[in-house]
Symmetry: C2
Subunit: 335 residues, 2 copies
């Protein structure tokens, strides 16, 4: 569901009706909602940047976090991300199950949250707290559902505060800085989290400067390790907490942990628990929790992860691109 | 030169040396500098949005600007955009030539400006004013040369003010809102212009809110007509002047003029004078200046421009994309 914004533009355009100017606005909204995360330069560069750091670290025999200037890889409390249940009792059961699986911190997001009225949402938050127990760390992700509507988001604050949610994530789209700021001023002690949409340092900087964030969430798959590190350092200066945004593979998890590995104050991290088979199989090993249930960036050269090329080969498709019969691209062999 | 940021990512990466962490930073900078304007969703949507407005306008027999809510298409003073000369005397001659070609407003940009010391830049500004004459409208485009270095930009302010430049455009990258704001506070009566890098309403809104702009420059080829209109209206509320950013075809020029067609206070527009053959040949006619040297959005259905499909066909290349031997895409025939 959170990858719904990577769809081809045509899926939101072809076959649509065009009778009135309102249809143009609707088509615009649908394309932006479904495809705004197609950013080929940023995403390609992010992958290249990870590979560069890994390569240099392997040649030097140093973990990436040390090359970045950190002197230690501190342990973080991993949080399990999952969808809200359709009904509050299902949300309660999901919280309980993650707690039993050893996760003290759990994030609930999307699903029915923000789709109905505030009292239904409040029932989900109460159920999540019950399932998680009194000492659990409760995180809530609204998935940009209110776009830039401050009043709609504000109507959910009381329940979030009563049940001691640590943060409310992405009440609005990343660019709605003014809406974030207005909500942040009404939300204390609840803090706002956001920033996964930032695909370079400056976008994250703007959220830190103008959105009143308590937590800035950075996806190394979107902006690379180099810019993630700049954000982690800038956030530390501005007393904003840095958190990774990672929903898929453990090589992405390692890449995401490097930027804030040495920052003791940034003590929680997102940890993929509902990963697709490809995400699990791409590496020969995973970043497992230790006996205290904590995780850290590997103390091994580079990113400390080995690609499983045999597993990867099973997912390979053969793509060919020709221009006036000259071959522009063909899928390379996996070594 | 201004399209240098649309290069394939590989051109900045393949063949580079990787010996140190500084190399990673350099490769990151080069990729961002050379490729950050590859934004497939925004650019594809912008083209679709123009086509939707054109289609609806043709069906209704109304120009797009009227569908957008404007009750007139006001005439604008077109400015000719050109590069600075290599030496001040060449800059002077270029200003004189555009004035003789009937352009009262001329923008000089890129080339040596900002590459050397402030006194050389001052000599170019003085020469531009001389070439243009006392009553010419002098616009200066720094092409983001100072990135986010306020002091470097501020060293150029005295000459720009002395020679009565109307604006200094893009001293910094679009995202450097704080740098813009700091320079704007020192620049009066000179005003800052920027915004061509904005690929949606919110990015432009942030520049209007936080960058201290006097002029917001919007490229309809990047954000479409719908969002351009939102920016034009928002700028009017905030007493910021709206200007189009258009460097290529006259169909792009028509699309760019629609958003602010009815705004009398937004009285200048960019006008392509160094267009490539494809840009000139894509339409059957051009938006010509009237006897007063002014231009306006066509008073004709839709965008008021007819595509020259015969001319277009000469530029068509045959692209094929296959995935596991299934055809994903092939260049369609031009009707």
């Amino acid at each position: 569901m959170s990858h719904g914004i990577c769809q081809p533009v045509g899926t939101s355009v072809l076959g649509q009706r065009l009778d009135d100017v309102a249809d143009i606005a609707r088509i615009n909204r649908e394309v932006r909602a479904n495809s705004l995360d197609l950013l080929q330069t940023s995403h390609t560069l992010a992958g290249i940047d990870m590979a560069l750091w890994d390569l240099l670290g392997r040649r030097r025999g140093e973990p990436v976090w040390r090359l970045l200037g950190h002197d230690q890889s501190t342990r973080k409390t991993p949080y399990a991300s999952q969808l809200f249940g359709d009904e509050p009792q299902e949300t309660r059961a999901k919280g309980k199950a993650q707690r039993e699986a050893g996760f003290r911190a759990v994030k609930f997001g999307w699903g029915p949250y923000g789709q109905g009225d505030a009292s239904t949402d409040a029932a989900h938050i109460a159920a999540a707290r019950e399932g998680l127990g009194e000492d659990g760390i409760l995180l809530v992700d609204a998935g940009t559902v209110w776009v830039d509507d401050v009043a709609a988001a504000a109507a959910r604050l009381d329940a979030l505060i009563e049940h001691r949610a640590t943060w409310l994530e992405e009440p609005f789209i990343s660019a709605a800085l003014g809406a974030y700021k207005a909500l942040a001023e009404r939300a204390a002690p609840l803090r706002l989290a956001g920033g996964e949409g930032a695909h370079n340092f400056h976008m994250a900087q703007q959220m830190i400067d103008y959105a009143g964030l308590g937590y800035v969430q950075i996806d190394a798959g979107r902006m690379g390790i180099s810019d993630s590190k700049r954000v982690a350092d800038y956030a530390a200066q501005r007393d904003v907490r840095f958190v990774n945004h990672t929903f898929n593979s453990h090589i992405a998890l390692s890449a995401s942990l490097q930027a804030f590995a040495g920052h003791e104050q940034d003590d929680i991290c997102e940890y993929p628990v509902e990963a697709k088979p490809l995400s699990r199989e791409i590496t020969q090993s995973l970043i497992e929790r230790d006996s205290d249930g904590l995780v850290c960036a590997p103390d091994a050269p580079g990113l400390g992860m080995e690609i499983d090329t045999d597993a990867l080969a099973r997912y390979l498709v053969q793509v060919k691109i020709t221009v006036d019969d000259a071959r522009l691209y063909a899928t390379p062999d996996v070594p």
